[in-house]
């Protein structure tokens, strides 16, 4: 017992899915949302999930968050079940819409998880996370007083405030215009570099997926499945104009090919 145990292959794995499947029963018969998904998200990775609607990318994220229950296979988060991981506050979740509570100020919205989890040093956490998303000075504003992009940044601050190491983001910038989106993408990369969090990011934008990720998971619908997993070789330092480089375009082309291969045009 005195010997050092060899590092387990799971030591770096934050999320590990094996033969994961999820079927929704509906009136029109079963819908296979996820089929035979095998995937590992390692600590510190930025993993994007890309695919057309109905490919199960959001469902997979929700399964990690224990918002949906898999019907077959296994899924572990930090080595435990998704339910235990949720109880251990393993992740922060950013939804498609900001979902800020309109009767709370920005600071109070960020404080919501802190109140529910009964965490201390609220003021310090609020100040720190609002600073991370560049919203210092907006503490006492109500959500309706902020633009859509600022609201989504506030919701990211809320997901960061309780210091979970895993950040699950479900098309967080999908409703924003291109310019705001570019800005928030580069902000998100800086935030990721500063906090060293593991991020799982759902998107339907190829440039967004390639720009942000260290690993791109291409999915296809009916049944929802993984068709390609691409490790990005782009440098960690990514200015916005990296999107014009040949390396970037080559990755984007591979993602597009993966999407095309998985998509059936029969219907």
């Amino acid at each position: 017992m005195t010997e050092l145990a060899p590092p387990s292959p799971d030591a770096m794995a934050v999320v590990r899915a094996q033969n994961l499947g999820l079927t929704f029963p509906t009136n029109d018969g079963d819908v296979i949302a996820l089929s035979d998904v095998n995937l590992t998200i390692n600590k510190g990775e930025f993993v994007s999930f890309i695919g057309p609607s109905g490919c199960g990318k959001t469902t997979f994220l929700r399964t990690i968050a224990d918002l949906e229950q898999p019907t077959s296979g296994t899924l572990t988060v930090n080595g435990t079940t998704p339910s235990d991981a949720r109880l251990n506050r393993a992740y922060g979740y950013v939804f498609q819409a900001p979902a800020l509570y309109p009767w709370r100020t920005i600071a109070q919205n960020v404080a919501l998880p802190l109140e529910i989890m009964a965490l201390t040093d609220k003021a310090e956490r609020i100040a720190r996370t609002l600073e991370l998303v560049n919203l210092t000075g907006f503490e006492n504003k109500y959500p309706w007083q902020l633009s859509g992009g600022m609201q989504q940044r506030a919701s990211i601050a809320r997901a960061l405030s309780f210091d979970a190491d895993l950040l699950l983001m479900d098309e967080p910038f999908g409703a924003l215009d291109e310019i705001v989106r570019d800005h928030l993408n580069s902000e998100l990369l800086k935030l990721w570099a500063r906090t060293r969090k593991t991020i799982a990011f759902v998107t339907h934008s190829i440039p967004e997926a390639v720009y942000l990720s260290t690993k791109i998971v291409v999915m296809s619908p009916r049944p929802g499945r993984v068709t390609d997993i691409i490790e990005s070789d782009l440098p960690a330092e990514r200015p916005l104009d990296i999107r014009e480089t040949p390396e970037f375009l080559r990755l984007a082309a591979r993602v597009r090919d993966g999407l095309r291969a998985g998509h059936s045009y029969e219907e």
């Binding site: 224990d66 918002l67 949720r86 992740y91 939804f95 979902a99 009767w103 100020t105 919501l112």
Partner: protein, 293 residues
């Protein structure tokens, strides 16, 4: 003058003026036959048209009292009478107001309680909702005497029986409004709570309740007005305790139409003040909850 016409004041004044003119005309028309009989009995002949009109506006027990008669009665029975006197309308209004407020408070609590049960338990929706709706299909005039007489038989008299009738009427809009209000949170707002592993109580206190507050105030505005009706109806069943309902009842026994109209106007004015008060509370709460001005 232009400012007056542009604002809200002028339209309101014009409508008031029209109602007043219509009322005075109706008073002439409705009181004329009885005035003719009176004049014949008194042997008065050749009464000029102007005098006759003045007579129709000054009867003791007119079919329709003229506005100034009602206004005079309200003045005499409030400002002109000692507030502790049983002839004071202010005294009776106070009795009705206390029953109204107690019934409103009980009704709001009952309504919120039922709504919370219904929202958190599907079985209670199916088992309770039909009874809640059925309760409002029974005429309150039929129930009120049974409640007042029944409770009187077991020694419960005074404020409480009337307040219970107010409660019976006012809980309904609160249940309906709050069931809707407590269900307004969107799926992602509830999912968010789930990702925090929030307890059902935390979901209620931090999400469902604040989301339902606007619905609560809308319901309470309806509830407080019908609470007053409930209290007045309760008083009709028991004329010992006083209240505006008793004034209406004794007025109709004695043909004191002016007294009836005065009590009616006091009741309507009271209801308006109560609704305005709830509206004021609503504005204060909205401001505290960051509503868009």
């Amino acid at each position: 003058m232009r400012q007056l016409l542009a604002g809200k004041t002028a339209p309101i004044l014009i409508v008031l003026l029209a109602i007043g003119l219509f009322w005075y005309a109706a008073a002439i028309w409705m009181n004329a036959p009885w005035q003719q009989t009176l004049n014949q009995r008194a042997g008065l002949e050749n009464v000029s048209a102007i005098d006759f009109v003045a007579q129709t506006w000054a009867q003791d027990k007119p079919l329709l009292p003229a506005p100034h008669q009602v206004a005079g009665e309200i003045w005499n029975a409030t400002v002109g009478t000692d507030i502790a006197s049983k002839r004071s309308l202010a005294y009776h209004a106070g009795i009705t107001l206390s029953a109204t407020l107690l019934g409103f408070a009980l009704g709001t609590l009952l309504g919120v309680g039922l709504a919370v049960m219904i929202v958190h338990n599907d079985a209670s929706e199916r088992s309770l909702m039909p009874w809640i709706i059925a309760s409002q299909t029974i005429p309150i005039l039929a129930i009120a005497p049974m409640v007042v007489v029944g409770l009187g038989a077991v020694g419960v008299t005074g404020l409480l029986p009337k307040a219970l009738i107010s409660m019976y009427l006012s809980f309904f809009p609160v249940v309906v409004g709050m069931v809707k209000g407590l269900r307004t949170p969107e799926a992602i707002q509830l999912d968010l709570m789930h990702t925090y592993s929030a307890t059902p109580w935390q979901v209620f206190a931090k999400l469902r309740w604040p989301a339902a507050v606007p619905f609560l105030f809308a319901s309470m505005k309806v509830g407080i007005a019908i609470s007053l009706i409930g209290a007045v109806v309760g008083e009709l069943s028991n004329n010992a305790g006083g209240g505006l309902g008793v004034r209406l009842l004794t007025g109709s026994y004695n043909g004191q139409t002016i007294q009836i109209w005065a009590a009616l106007f006091i009741a309507a004015g009271l209801a308006a003040l109560l609704v305005i008060a709830v509206g004021g509370a609503e504005r204060l709460v909205n401001r505290a909850m960051g509503a868009r001005p």
